[in-house]
Symmetry: C2
Subunit: 134 residues, 2 copies
């Protein structure tokens, strides 16, 4: 499995609120599947288990069996990896854009160059309206 496959799986795993809720529930300590189902009353037990298996495949949840119980542990290390190799770079990029805009704001108005791909004009718009589409 390539590193890109790993990122695919991790982002997809985090891309469902039920799974993020599960991670939140076991953040401060492992829980049994039954305990999780009691919290996630809006979901069927089978659905919870399916989400757990998705999380387990990504390594975000580590399972330990104790008799007839299944204790679901959080392993946040994969998220740490995502943070380091992916999110961090883009978050830094965002900060850099903001800072460059602050610098721009100092210099202010510049003659618009229609020939070059415009970066600042868009960036200005971003800061002006941070509201998302739809």
């Amino acid at each position: 499995m390539s590193i890109e496959d790993t990122f695919d799986a991790l982002f997809k795993a985090l891309g469902h609120r039920a799974r993020r809720r599960i991670l939140d529930l076991i953040k401060d300590g492992p829980k049994t599947t039954g305990a999780l189902c009691e919290k996630l009353t809006d979901l069927d037990r089978c659905t919870v288990m399916q989400h757990l298996s998705v999380l387990e495949k990504t390594g975000l949840v580590v399972v330990e069996r104790r008799g007839r119980e299944r204790w679901n542990h959080l392993d946040a290390l994969p998220i740490h990896d995502v943070q380091k190799r992916w999110i961090g770079a883009y978050a830094a990029h965002a900060v850099a854009v903001i800072e460059s805009l602050d610098a721009l704001a100092e210099t202010d108005a510049q003659s618009p160059d229609i020939t070059a791909p415009p970066q600042a004009s868009i960036a200005m718009r971003q800061v002006g309206s941070r509201s998302k589409t739809s």
Copy 2:
């Protein structure tokens, strides 16, 4: 749209390598759709546009039209938000686990308590084998 919807959309958007490739391609400056298609030779032009529209809906891509061209700009600010509100907390959690393990390694061997939910034992396993499942 709730904040959880936003996270759903963002993680899902990042959960496809084609979209991450697109973001990489426009990280250092905007590109036209045509320019992107030239780079993503393994994908149909329509598919690239569909991915772009997914990215646009999340706010990760901001579109600017210039005549018959469409310039796709990166807006990394949503990723910065994810980093702040979500990834950061878990990444910190991972680091905390590692550090607590370092501390544990000092004290070392402890009597296993079968009554309490075991945390350390699993955590030890995590450090022992960082390899992911499958």
